[in-house]
Symmetry: C2
Subunit: 397 residues, 2 copies
């Protein structure tokens, strides 16, 4: 019989997706250039030409049997070795190929990472505001996602609330820095405090607690911001990466897990992930894309536009009286709405063709997300709409 | 803590993989050209130039934001529409885009298909000899794989034994035709008998029983062989396909599920699969590869070499006194070993640098598999080794 479980999920449509669909529909009416669509985190800058050139070169010169052949489930050995060397050079680590597991993007990485360090019934802690898919990513493995309420002062970590959730069943902490949706980058102090707390709890409970560090925005960090490499501060760290944002390749589904060489069973994590793949239908990312990204390690798309956009929006929001933590990276900003009900707030904004996403979706009601991965010219035009929206709907007394 | 469950799987190394590793090691000693490696089902013919040209054209001409952009979880709508039209024309079906779900190869397709029509505890029936990964593909969803013993006369279906396994918990039948490892193609009569039996059982149990039809070898069918399209004969059919074999693209992980338009909840299968993706980290296959295969629908690599190889091997096996069902397709043959213990038989063959895989791995002890996706010239040379092996180890009395 068709699964009632998955059928029932059809009713739980993502709010982000709904907003995005509304934007597309509205665009059909008035021209999409006139809809200020801040709904989707879809990169707005183009892939570097060097990546395209490398793909073409592989197609023109490499033996097709090797180019398109089966790779090991863990990924192509030469790709994993290059990646380990790149990470070592960049972050002063000691990875070898055996610590790397190639995945179909960050979703694939997290699907393996959660399974490799939990068993059904274990708890995984994450922090509001958080990417809504974490619910599916974690709960569908049989583990249970627990949410620490937001530190709305700075969108760092509310350690007091975190300690209330830590217990013997805690198997992993899922963090995302730079963060979607807040745009915040965890400071070195935050990471150090987290590491220290987890070291203590590991001793207290007598078992490992892993950090699963979701890092697709690692390269989108703004001027002067301290962006520590999480794994440097805590041995039991699995770094999950995707090239979707840094290379503007979201459709190509390419990423990896890098297991800290000092973590428990470090040499086994990648081979165990290959076992996990057998049950979830993964079987490693496309070979040509593995080979191509390995040729452009360290290269990024022209990411500076995101900082330009952020500054324009942040300045205007502050001018308009919003409470807002200034993002340290990503292409998101997460201001406080001008009324308690952020769903109502975002609905009113639609009258001004501003497409914002309520914070409720990210476990943080009363706030809203703007994904400013759009052209700067459009950002500038949107500020007029934003002003009009605020001045009309929320006139200052 | 690192999962004991997945750690324990590390000991259960695939016999196919072990044989293949032995072949590589032996190749390093005596030259790989002298090892008659029949272990792996890895296509031996090259991808069609038209596919490569199409990939290059996409890279050179298509807007990179579209080319590498996020696609819908179900796959790119235009790709799904083209595929539906192609299947309709080829098999006289009535698919529309909504019945198609794009996947990362057949493993991805089966991962979704099993989850969409079963719930934990349900039973899925398959037929020996079967692809060993079916154990993981099914049991890791929470459903339970049940194996019907082989019909060793013809490697069609042993219906008597099948009926013994059918019960109220049976939710799906997983078939693979043309078959790995037997090379057999299910006849129209087999499919019709299966369909009739399942129709009856659906009525008797008052619930759907789906056929999950794993069809990566659909185009590798030999002269004069009747190869029915399963879905034409049974409404509740999910056809799972991969381009790995037909286009010689195993590393690129591209395939699909096509839900019969007459099946229960036909319009929901694909959208439900997109929900399943969220929990297993799938999130649709790479966009550029979706777009490229959609441009070469119906094209195949030069597959005729497999029939040439099959005839050479089959004739020699018969001459040497083997009992052997003549394959109707694929690049596999599955003869009866010359002693009861097929593991011992395959070990003896290694002395002659013949790499064969014992049938035990496929739920059919006493037989062995040869994957003849190798150069014809090497097949010819291997026959001398085969003769020597048989005449020395199993002299006729």
């Amino acid at each position: 019989m068709v699964s009632e479980d998955y059928k029932s999920m059809l009713n739980g449509k993502s709010v982000i997706r709904q907003m995005s669909e509304w934007a597309a529909k509205r665009g059909a009416e008035i021209g999409y250039e006139n809809v200020f669509d801040y709904s989707l985190g879809n990169p707005s800058v183009t892939v570097p030409q060097a990546f395209t050139d490398k793909m073409i070169e592989l197609l023109q010169t490499k033996n097709p049997m090797e180019l398109h052949g089966y790779s090991q489930s863990q990924g192509i050995p030469a790709v994993r070795a290059k990646l380990a060397a790149y990470l070592n050079k960049t972050f002063d680590m000691n990875y070898t190929a055996e610590h790397i597991f190639m995945t179909t993007g960050a979703a694939g990485a997290i699907a393996h990472a959660v399974r490799v360090v939990t068993k059904p019934g274990d708890e995984v802690i994450t922090f509001a505001p958080y990417f809504p898919e974490y619910q599916q990513y974690v709960n569908r493995t049989g583990a249970v996602l627990k949410i620490v309420p937001a530190d709305t002062e700075a969108f760092q970590i509310n350690f007091e609330k975190m300690e209330e959730l830590l217990n013997e069943k805690t198997a992993a902490i899922l963090i995302n820095t730079p963060n979607n949706p807040s745009g915040t980058v965890y400071s070195t102090k935050t990471i150090q405090t987290l590491a220290k707390l987890l070291e203590e709890k590991q001793k207290e409970y007598g078992h490992d607690i892993f950090i699963i560090s979701d890092e697709p925005y690692r390269e989108i960090v703004f001027e002067g911001v301290d962006a520590p490499y999480v794994s440097k501060y805590y041995a039991n760290t699995l770094s999950c990466y995707s090239y979707s944002k840094s290379l503007s390749l979201p459709g190509e589904r390419i990423g990896y897990i890098a297991a800290n060489p000092e973590c428990t069973d470090a040499a086994l994590i990648s081979v165990m992930c290959a076992q996990i793949s057998r049950g979830i239908g993964h079987n490693c990312p496309p070979s040509i894309i593995q080979l191509a990204v390995a040729e452009v390690l360290g290269l990024t798309a022209e990411l500076s536009v995101y900082e330009t956009n952020m500054n324009l929006i942040y300045d205007e929001l502050v001018k308009l009286g919003f409470t807002c933590v200034k993002p340290g990276g990503t292409f998101y900003i997460f201001p406080k709405a001008l009324e308690e009900d952020s769903v109502a707030f975002c609905q009113k904004a639609m009258k001004y063709d501003l497409v914002l996403v309520p914070g409720d979706s990210f476990g943080c009601p009363g706030y809203f997300r703007m994904a400013y991965c759009i052209d700067t010219e459009k950002v500038e035009r949107s500020l007029t709409a934003l002003r009009k929206f605020v001045e009309t709907e929320y006139p200052r007394s």
